[in-house]
């Protein structure tokens, strides 16, 4: 979508002089863009390098010697002493659970809103969308009391349900638009052939709704992977902590000096899935941004 429409009219290749000016302009563009890109990427690259520095170097001022002693010590120490793999697994479980549940519920709702007329459909759709305007940060107290009495606090499943709800408005909106873009005849043809609802969705419409589902899954995963304030409120036992809470433990929980090498390595672990997912599924992410509804 982004690649298809250009803002600038492509300059007609005119006389050689204009061509040279265009080339100089392009060189300037590349230089400026690269410098700006470095401003955004270097801090991240630096953090990755830091995570490979031994503790003795991490706590000193950066210097040229830093790169001569790179080591996996922070990572192995983090695995052994802080069981970081366990917390990573917790984060993964919550994020994958949230992504799948959001995808299923949003796909159903999107199909329902796009293809079926029923009384109150508009009101229900408005109710789901209104959720987008209500910051969950402001509902922490009633949610805590409610989820506590339902046995959903201090539970990864409870946290995933909470995340799912606040990802639903976006997901439902994206999936409804996805279904609206599919020609009516296609799902009707499937139903004439005697395909049931589930089969229509899975075998006939699947290729057409897959981009929408990918967008929904991607947003839900990225949202829940390192969400902080909700996890901080709803999880209290150490063995259920997700990655950001485990990192917070490294920061405040340790007696005396913070082990910055470990903290840096843990942050890099938290960063990796986001980078990979985004680089791999970038067009689905952009699709979501263009859908007109973005989480505040």
């Amino acid at each position: 979508m982004t690649a298809a429409t250009a803002t600038r009219p492509t300059r007609a290749t005119g006389p050689a002089r204009r061509d040279a000016r265009g080339r100089a302009g392009y060189a300037l563009y590349l230089t400026g863009g690269t410098l700006a890109a470095l401003l955004f990427l270097l801090p991240l690259v630096w953090a990755v390098l830091r995570s490979f520095m031994p503790d003795s170097l991490v706590t000193q001022a950066p210097s040229g010697h830093d790169f001569a002693h790179l080591t996996f010590a922070n990572y192995s120490g983090l695995v052994k002493a802080n069981d970081i793999l366990h917390y990573t697994l917790n984060s993964l479980l919550v994020a994958i659970g949230t992504a799948l549940l959001t995808a299923v519920i949003a796909t159903m709702a999107g199909y329902g809103f796009a293809r079926f007329r029923f009384r109150g459909s508009g009101i229900v759709f408005a109710l789901v969308l209104v959720t987008m305007m209500i910051p969950f940060q402001a509902l922490l107290t009633p949610l805590f009391l409610e989820m506590h009495s339902l046995g959903l606090t201090n539970s990864l499943a409870g946290l995933a349900l909470f995340y799912t709800t606040f990802n639903l408005p976006f997901g439902v909106f994206v999936m409804r638009n996805t279904f609206l873009q599919i020609p009516w005849e296609l799902s009707e043809a499937a139903s004439v052939d005697g395909a049931g609802l589930a089969r229509t969705l899975v075998s006939v419409l699947r290729p057409l709704i897959l981009p929408g589902i990918a967008t929904t899954v991607l947003y839900a995963f990225l949202f829940s992977w390192t969400e902080f304030v909700g996890a901080l409120t709803f999880l209290t036992s150490n063995n259920l902590f997700t990655l950001p809470l485990a990192l917070l433990n490294l920061e405040y929980g340790s007696v005396g000096q913070v082990n910055f090498g470990y903290l840096e390595a843990g942050a890099v672990i938290a960063m990796i899935p986001c980078v990979l997912l985004y680089l791999g599924l970038q067009r689905y992410y952009v699709r979501g941004l263009m859908s007109g509804v973005i989480k505040g």
Partner: protein, 326 residues
């Protein structure tokens, strides 16, 4: 899935007998009219999302109003105290401070996020080679998330070992042992720079989407008339971009209003409670002080403010898009 769902897509008139045989439930389902069956199926499909929203948003919202009218402690009995929490709230110096601090922080970061985001959108909106790479690079900090990056930044803000002191002392702007996170002004400055770095990519994406939607014919016509780059930007791009600008600004403002992660991780609200934004005030009051009723009154105030901003968003977007059509 259950019967209604399986049957939904069958045509109304010539309903063939279901291949899976007709159970008692199925027969009754077939006796319903087609439109009725479709309506029921639609309701069934949207029911799970409605239940989720009702349980985790609508009920808590109503419950929050109720809690805010009580002196709810975490454990033990509570009493209905009417609007007392609210009248305490507007005289509570700590709450007022957190509101003012949040406003100050929002006021500071909104402008650089927007200006930088706009400049980057101009840079990446074309299809020149390299634009995709730049776009990815500028947006990456937003994807990785504030919490993760706050943990990374913590080390770099330490005196003597952090990269911030190292770089700034090389160019003579700070002392090598400046402790950024324990000083109100320095912490606020550092976090503002950090958040600008984090969030300007989102503004860029939102503005770029709008810029790419402007018909190229308009620019071509302006070029024929000898318009300069600045004229085209000011007379064509800016006016047509109004809805996107409104959206980008409002998303940015709401995000700043709800700031929590970066302050909790980097300063813990300190020194003292000087860098405590509203969401952290709510969190501390509720889950550290156990004043749930009081904290929730503050939360309701936040909901109202966000609702007003969101309503303004809808108003601005609708207004400007209808103007753009004319």
């Amino acid at each position: 899935m259950i019967g209604p769902d399986q049957a939904l897509a069958r045509p109304a008139t010539a309903a063939p007998p279901g291949p899976r045989g007709a159970g008692g439930r199925r027969v009754r389902w077939w006796h319903l009219s087609m439109s009725r069956r479709r309506a029921l199926t639609g309701m069934g499909l949207v029911a799970p999302s409605l239940v989720m929203v009702a349980v985790f948003v609508l009920f808590p919202l109503g419950f929050a109003v109720y809690i805010s009218l009580t002196n709810w402690p975490l454990i033990g009995p509570y009493h209905f105290i009417g609007g007392q929490n609210y009248s305490l709230l507007i005289h509570d110096p700590q709450f007022i401070h957190s509101v003012l601090f949040t406003l100050l922080y929002t006021g500071i970061v909104t402008v650089p996020i927007f200006v930088l985001g706009y400049a980057m959108a101009v840079l990446v909106r074309s299809n020149r080679r390299g634009a995709t790479f730049f776009r990815t690079a500028f947006f990456l900090p937003f994807i990785i998330g504030l919490a993760t990056e706050s943990f990374m930044l913590l080390l770099e803000l330490q005196p003597d070992s952090g990269a911030a002191d190292y770089v700034l002392s090389k160019i003579g702007l700070a002392h090598q042992s400046t402790a950024w996170t324990v000083n109100y002004g320095l912490a606020l400055a550092a976090i503002c720079v950090f958040v600008t770095w984090f969030a300007s990519g989102l503004t860029m994406m939102l503005l770029m989407a709008g810029m790419q939607g402007i018909p190229t014919e308009l620019y071509e016509a302006a070029e024929v008339d000898g318009g300069t780059w600045w004229q085209k930007e000011a007379r064509i791009t800016l006016p047509l971009l109004r809805p996107n600008i409104a959206l980008a600004l409002i998303i940015s403002v709401i995000g700043s209003f709800l700031a929590f992660n970066q302050f909790y991780i980097l300063t813990e609200g300190g020194p003292g409670t000087s860098t405590q934004p509203v969401v952290m005030w709510i969190y501390e009051e509720a889950f550290v002080q156990y004043h749930l009723g009081y904290a929730t009154a503050g939360a309701i105030a936040l909901v109202v403010v966000i609702a007003i901003i969101s309503a303004a968003q809808f108003y601005l977007l609708r207004d400007s898009s209808s103007r753009a059509v004319r």
